[in-house]
Symmetry: C2
Subunit: 497 residues, 2 copies
């Protein structure tokens, strides 16, 4: 049975090579359009598709190869008698080789803004041929990549002018991959998806780590903030900003949070935004240096004057008054306007994959609090405990946060032992608020041992808030009762690592 190769390529490079291969192996060539002319010009014998289909090229060549005789020549089952009979009876060529490439649609849409031209470029005929040939890889060789010409030659030499099923399957795998990729670009273009967007960052957490921003479909990069002023944001800037935003979103009234090394290092709520700022800064002025500050209300000029006085990398707020921006305009600081965000899931890489979890959106409320001691607290103190607990949620675990009147007095962050976190928070409070006599304390995980209570400065402690759930709870409650400290369980652990 005579064997045929159908060739129709955009990329005419090495066309001579592939024609030679077919000639050497006694395979006749069928072609159409520009490829037909090029093969003729190279001096090879070539049949026109229309000579086979007897259907002349119409509609400016739109439907040249979309013909049952061509597709049957590719698709028929070489082992079925009825198929073979039809092929013989209808003079259908046995197409054993298909050489068709698809013009990169990305280039098309890059090179022109003309919608009609782009659409005209969507390949129908070649695309169908490739899928037919790939489907019937059991018999047919589908070459979609110029690089495979040489491999075909090698394969034919190796197997006495035949190809192996493995070779054909490989070609088909490649073909199906190129097909879906081609249509993905079209689909994204049609659906106004921009695929993923990438933006190089100067570097990652450290200068020797390359890094980039990746934005999901339909989302401009860093769409949750709008930069008003300042230098390019670094990886660590972005990381700190995320921490600041997630924390401020959980706070009420006028709130201020300072962030450093992806941990809150100062925070306060107040009816007066200036007081909230002063209090949050006073939490730990030393750590705030060079950090990020975030507000949940607009920055006015009075606040801007306060910001101007301290060294900070970034200031974030839902808005800034014109005069505030004017005050800050000569200061070396990044100014960000906080836009709406609604992140539902967070990912973390592990080797060979990811772990994905829901974002922790829980903010403890009064109704979650269960008094477990003989002594209870007034509502105002309960709210202060909730404030402390909310800040602790955003501090890396083990986290302990001490507050008074909605001002953070001490943070024990990222400790491997709960008691260390308590000691650190206590020490920070003593250092920065020597005169303070009363406070409440929050722990993001349960207190594991009753000696944790021993570490508290008594009688200053007016309340403990913690998830509860330790097997030692009863001992810890007993100890709290002994010192007459009201203790509340939230029942909701809030680790963050």
């Amino acid at each position: 049975m005579k064997e045929y190769a159908l060739i129709s390529v955009q990329n005419k490079k090495n066309l001579s090579m592939i024609c030679k291969i077919f000639k050497k192996n006694n395979v006749d060539i069928i072609s159409t359009g520009g490829t037909y002319k090029a093969i003729k010009k190279l001096g090879f014998k070539v049949l026109k598709v229309s000579e086979i289909t007897k259907f002349e090229e119409v509609l400016d060549g739109r439907v040249k190869t979309l013909h049952p005789k061509i597709h049957a020549g590719i698709l028929f089952d070489r082992k079925k008698n009825n198929h073979q009979k039809t092929i013989a009876k209808k003079n259908i060529p046995t197409i054993e080789y298909l050489v068709v490439d698809l013009y990169d649609f990305k280039k098309t849409i890059k090179n022109t803004n003309d919608l009609e031209k782009c659409i005209e470029n969507i390949d129908i005929g070649g695309h169908s041929l490739i899928r037919s040939a790939a489907k019937n890889y059991k018999y047919v060789n589908v070459l979609t990549d110029i690089k495979d010409y040489k491999k075909l030659n090698y394969e034919l030499n190796l197997n006495n002018g035949k190809t192996s099923i493995n070779f054909r399957k490989k070609l088909a795998s490649k073909a199906f991959k190129s097909i879906y990729k081609y249509d993905l670009v079209i689909s994204d273009w049609f659906n106004n998806n921009n695929n993923l967007l990438f933006k190089k960052l100067k570097y990652g957490e450290n200068p020797h780590q390359k890094a980039r921003l990746v934005s999901k479909k339909n989302n401009p990069i860093l769409s949750f903030i709008k930069k008003i002023q300042g230098k390019e944001m670094s990886y660590n800037n972005i990381n700190d900003t995320i921490c600041a935003i997630s924390c401020i979103k959980d706070l009420k009234k006028f709130a201020t949070v300072f962030v450093k090394h992806a941990n809150p290092c100062g925070a306060a709520q107040n009816n007066n935004i200036l007081k909230a700022f002063d209090n949050a800064l006073a939490s730990d002025k030393q750590s705030a240096y060079g950090g990020v500050v975030i507000f949940n209300k607009s920055v006015n000029d009075q606040l801007a004057k306060k910001i101007k006085k301290i060294h900070l990398d970034i200031v974030i707020a839902p808005n800034f008054s014109k005069s505030a921006l004017n005050i800050l305009k000569n200061k070396k600081i990044i100014i960000l306007i906080l836009k709406k965000t609604n992140q539902k899931k967070e990912l973390k890489s592990i080797p060979g994959g990811l772990i994905e979890q829901e974002v922790d959106k829980v903010v403890v409320k009064r109704k979650n609090l269960k008094c477990v001691t003989k002594y209870s607290s007034q509502n105002r103190l309960l709210d202060d405990m909730i404030f402390a607990y909310t800040i602790a949620k955003h501090v890396k675990s083990n986290a302990v946060v001490i507050t008074k009147n909605f001002q953070v007095l001490g943070i024990g962050a990222g400790q491997m032992s709960r008691v260390d976190a308590i000691e650190i928070a206590m020490k920070k409070m003593t250092k920065n608020f020597a005169k303070n006599s009363s406070y409440v304390i929050a722990s993001d995980g349960f207190l594991p041992f009753s000696d944790n209570i021993n570490k508290l400065k008594k009688p200053g402690c007016k309340g403990i808030i913690q998830p509860g759930g330790s097997k030692n709870d009863s001992f810890i409650i007993k100890k709290a009762n002994k010192y007459k400290i009201p203790m509340y369980f939230t029942g909701i652990r809030q680790f963050k690592h």
Copy 2:
């Protein structure tokens, strides 16, 4: 001009509805195969495709619609005179509506393991029709989803039996999307990709957060470890395991690392693995409780006996002797064998996207160290400094690590202020190693102020290792010289958040 609708659907639901819509709007129906029979049975007038193509169904229906008359009827440009003439001359039907669905290929490969059957199910004809119609959405309506029948009816009622260009474009967008998704499944199947694999976790960092494992193509889930014993791993277990693995990979000799809350809390290197274990445990026995322990060498029975004595969640090693496994078999502990990993990039979610960076693979070597003080150290102390610095790389920033003879004596983890990290590390050392007189200290970022040196226990300090690069470097060097402490700069900052 007579309008036609070509219908060929797997899902025959609502077939009657769509036929009624066409009848009402004076659109003639063309169909083939099973759909033709079903429409006939429903009592609607319907033309056979072969009556138009005059090409009888051959090859068991493989090439029914792959005919230029059909595709021309879809693809021709209604505004071009030469196209219109061809259509009229060749008796080509003006196909204004295409109703074709693709059978879910995922279901095909799920329902059978018969390769031939799967391949037979790859749609060629319907697929081509959809792409032709979507391409020519300027004129043609392409319905690929049963849900769109009602919408079409609404649209036709609204516009006096016509559809709007926006409506048709929407249909085409949907069609192109379904096309690439269909071929993606085929391509992944052909290329042995399993797409993404998902595995539900009990919960995330906290019980109220849903979570799952996601594995990339070709990678089984958690392929970097093999579980030998123990309960299902939790999100936090996995997170701690990642930290432990990345740390142990950077260590030499026989090494042991304890991890808690995604931070190393104890570590040691020794020529004797039992001694390495004892030393690492002694770093901070309290924090190690309930944590993860990892080794870079096989666990023998002597080591297993030591592990058995302490409460740990997970033990990881490249291997375990049979007798070691036997010793641990009744202990409530997860046993993991560490397999090869080569993670190159790490991702972190931000609202609407990701930040991606190279994994920090740098481990500081002697050649990176630059002595900046009048006093220098012996090689053994240099290696101890490198050990401390390597552990600090894996502790959350700001991180400070104190070691002696390749044993961690104190870790200051996750602090917002460098001086706090130093104080915490010092305090931990004093608490756990009261009798110790000498040590070296590492900082993952530069020391920002010379008062950092004041916090060191002198004269015990035999060496400081830090990246350098502060504008205050000269003051810090001066202070180190004053106390006769050798100080080395690595030039390589190693933050981790």
